[in-house]
Amino acid sequence: MNNISRIKDVLKSFFAEIGELSFFTGRFFKEVFKRPFEFKEFLRQCYNMGNQSLFLVAVTGFIIGLVFTLQSRPTLEEFGAVSWMPSMVSISIIREIGPIITALICAGRIGSGIGAELGSMRVTEQIDAMEVSGTNPFKYLVVTRILATTLMIPILVFFGDAISIFGSYMVENIKGNVSFLLYYNQVFNSLEFSDIIPTTIKTFFFGFAIGLVGCYKGYNCKKGTVGVGIAANSAVVYTSMLLFLIDFIAVFITNIFVDI
């Protein structure tokens, strides 16, 4: 009996959370077209986000490319299919691994940062102070951040993909002595628009999800310093789950269209 009521509570709060998040999303779309557009703050956010995570994305991208190639090379060698290496790398990295890894890293870096920053601004009444100063804090803080992640994550993914493929090339160069130009040539030859366009669209949704959940958690932060920690932490957890969900849906939809 106790267990059942506990499950009930969990489900109730889960659906309440989804409801509130949808409401928050609705508010974003209502306010995004209203004046004034806080363009300066938007640019500042873009710059900060890029600045914070560029190095991280580069390092992980490089290592992923390197390791991925090292690990799959022996298998391909067994079948005598090493020449397939570039196309395999490019397709798997650009379609799947690059976007999801970069987005997860950014969820940890940018999403939690937004959650903590807005959370502490809420707790210390800075958001209230903004409203009293004649500024709509939702526009100034939330809309700019969501737009910034929506724009920056795709750019960071692009960047991460490129570095990743470079990491893969390093392995191929050492093991198989391929030239840089030839390798990149092969990589791009194996790509089609049907690889690039869906994955790029997907990354915009990733970016939107990271900004949205981070802002939602921070903006509605509970009072007290504990609240800030919870906001930052749950921002990362929920975003990561949401990223995989979006990924699944995106692949599902892409498959339908590719089959046709």
Binding site: E117, A129, V132, T135
Partner: protein, 250 residues
């Protein structure tokens, strides 16, 4: 009724204010008014709803019922633009200073100036106004510091400067001396009094500090049991026989 007749003179008039959060009824029919040039001190236990009351007043919280009139305007009946215009006339000193962490002192002070464009138009050079506000609180040298480089007392002063920069005619202080040492508290109180004299402002001051209440108040209101429980001058209340009132002056 006499309060009705005098309504035009009250720059702030709160009637029958009710506000609850879920089952927690914080305000249950709170009344008060503020005359021009007057300093009203509001005292109440921690968690009694003083901050909630003052946030309803400035439109940060929406009351469940009751009317709030500022300079004759019912704030629940005006548009966001009108509300923002009204807010330029009201300074709000937040409980914890609420300086923007990510901005320098100068940017903190410029923020309300650049935002309330209706009152000031587009100001190109804000330096002079910023300096004047900082000089008022004796911290002109701190202009390029970040909030995390300031002490608690300095933060409170900068927050006061940020409030003053819009030259408001009403200032709302939410526990201006809480969390400060006695000496700094006294400095802040003196500062509040000098500002009052210089700009001829009216103010509502929320405080626990009996000394502060004594020197600054023209009239006091005690918020007890979710209502304006007792009202009067410092002398009247401090000599009251009611134990609930006496408790504040021990």
């Amino acid at each position: 009724m006499s309060t009705e007749a005098n309504n035009t003179e009250h720059i702030i008039d709160i009637q029958n204010l009710r506000k609850s959060f879920g089952d927690n009824c914080v305000l249950d029919g709170f009344n008060m008014y503020l005359n021009k040039g007057e300093n009203v001190v509001i005292m109440g236990k921690s968690g009694s709803g003083k901050s909630v009351m003052i946030k309803c007043l400035i439109g940060l919280e929406e009351p469940d019922s009751g009317t709030i009139k500022i300079m004759g305007k019912d704030i629940s009946k005006i548009s966001t633009d009108e509300l923002n215009e009204l807010r330029t006339e009201i300074g709000f000193l937040f409980q914890g200073s609420a300086l923007y962490d990510s901005m320098s002192v100068r940017e903190n002070l410029e923020f309300p100036l650049r935002r309330h464009t209706k009152k000031f138009g587009k100001i190109k050079d804000t330096t002079q106004l910023v300096m004047e506000a900082l000089e008022n609180v004796g911290l002109a040298h701190a202009i390029d510091l970040m909030p995390n480089e300031l002490s608690g007392g300095m933060k409170r002063r900068i927050a006061l400067a940020r409030t003053l920069i819009l030259q408001p005619s009403i200032i709302l202080y939410d526990e201006p001396t809480t969390g400060l040492d006695p000496i700094t508290s006294k400095e802040i109180i003196l500062l509040m009094m000098s500002i009052q004299k210089k700009y001829n402002t009216s103010s509502i001051i929320i405080t626990h500090d009996v000394d502060c209440a004594r020197v600054i108040s023209n009239r006091m209101i005690l918020l007890v049991d979710s209502i304006n429980y007792a009202e009067g001058t410092f002398l009247e209340l401090s000599t009251s026989k009611d134990p609930k009132v006496q408790a504040f002056f021990k």
